[in-house]
């Protein structure tokens, strides 16, 4: 009987020595869930812009001011490819709507006055030059007797996308312009 008891005590010690994996598995699950969920929160950035206050009022628009006009011209719409690879065989969803797509080969260029730019870096350099040129400054209406960097009006043509415009606003802002307006004719691309 005594022998038996001794054996069971030894078994106990052995059991205690066995590694308990539960906390480790818990922590691993916790980390998996954490990294899965963190994807839901995308870090976003913002670009400020302004709309003309006088649009829509039928008479006496505000005094015209000198603005730098930048046109976005869509040279190539590109090939629409359904975004999710698993849906590529069926371009329409159950409701008969087009599935979200990405564009391959979408091209646009920019026109600042008569000058055409195909490269964003070259456009940025040109804009920086204008923003820092004292002769390009315009009278500041809010502070009489002072000058300021002229405002920019972005004119997206038919076929320009939100991505094209936002990228341009991004570059215009970093080039030193703070007043950004939008113009251009509205028009939907013919499909």
């Amino acid at each position: 009987m005594a022998k038996k008891k001794k054996k069971s005590h030894l078994k106990d010690v052995q059991e205690d020595a066995a590694m308990d994996m539960t906390p480790m598995i818990d922590v691993v699950f916790l980390l998996i869930i954490f990294f899965l969920c963190i994807d839901f929160k995308t870090l976003e950035a913002k670009l400020p812009a302004y709309l003309p206050k006088d649009r829509g009022s039928q008479s006496n628009p505000e005094e015209p001011v000198e603005q730098l006009s930048i046109k976005i011209v869509n040279s190539e719409w590109g090939r629409e490819i359904v975004r999710k690879p698993e849906h590529r065989g069926s371009p329409l969803n159950k409701e008969g709507r087009k599935r979200a797509y990405k564009l391959e080969g979408h091209l646009c260029h920019w026109e600042v006055g008569p000058k055409r730019y195909d490269d964003m870096e070259k456009l940025k350099a040109a804009l920086e030059k204008i923003a820092t040129d004292p002769s390009q400054r315009v009278p500041d209406k809010d502070n009489p007797g002072q000058t300021k960097v002229m405002s920019v009006v972005i004119e997206p043509a038919v076929g320009a996308t939100y991505g094209d415009v936002a990228s341009l606003v991004d570059v215009v802002t970093v080039s030193g312009f703070s007043e950004i307006n939008f113009g251009g004719g509205l028009g939907k691309r013919k499909q």
């Binding site: 818990d26 929160k41 709507r97 939100y162 570059v171 802002t173 028009g187």
Partner: protein
């Protein structure tokens, strides 16, 4: 005999650790998934910003409008304008802007514009559109913002700090 009793008692003790672990796990899961600040945001792929400032301290008052690739305008998970349903009739957008003016925004000024007294809204609107959404739809919304009855003039364009399209759907 006393040794056996000891063993039985030890086994009868309830181990709370797994339960606490599970509770923490569930708490973290729900905190991350049901984040109330995300309810305004549609699952869109935004264009990537190279230089834009991170939107880490958003203003307290800022309506967020989402515009999908097919031109639907979504506010808080509700489609407020659908090109298929509404066509050229943008009155629902006008109604949405007036709704914001009456209930959401706080900073407003009276200004005389074009000989008319207009209540101008100084709080910004955040526009979130898919990177391939045609600008036509964003422009249409902006036209609505510029109407004297709405008179929103501050706009923020949402961008992403990474190109999710490249990461998720590069194939």
């Amino acid at each position: 005999m006393s040794l056996l009793e000891d063993e039985v008692e030890r086994e009868a003790d309830m181990d709370m650790t797994p339960m606490i672990d599970c509770v923490f796990l569930l708490m973290i899961f729900f905190v991350l998934v049901i984040d109330l600040s995300q309810k305004d945001l549609e699952d869109l792929i935004l264009p990537m910003a190279k230089y834009a400032t991170p939107d880490d301290s958003p203003p307290e008052v800022r309506p967020i409008l989402n515009i999908t690739q097919d031109g639907r305008m979504v506010y808080r998970k509700n489609v407020r304008y659908d090109p298929i349903q509404h066509g050229d009739d943008m009155s629902t957008v006008g109604e949405l802007l007036i709704e914001w003016k009456n209930t959401v925004v706080q900073d407003m000024d009276e200004e005389t514009i074009g000989g008319k007294l207009v209540t101008v809204v100084n709080d910004p609107i955040l526009i979130r559109a898919d990177k391939w959404t045609e600008w036509h739809w964003v422009g249409k919304f902006m036209t609505g913002c510029s109407q004297p009855e709405a008179a929103f003039w501050k706009i923020e364009l949402a961008m992403s700090e990474e190109d999710k399209e490249v990461r998720l759907y590069s194939k």
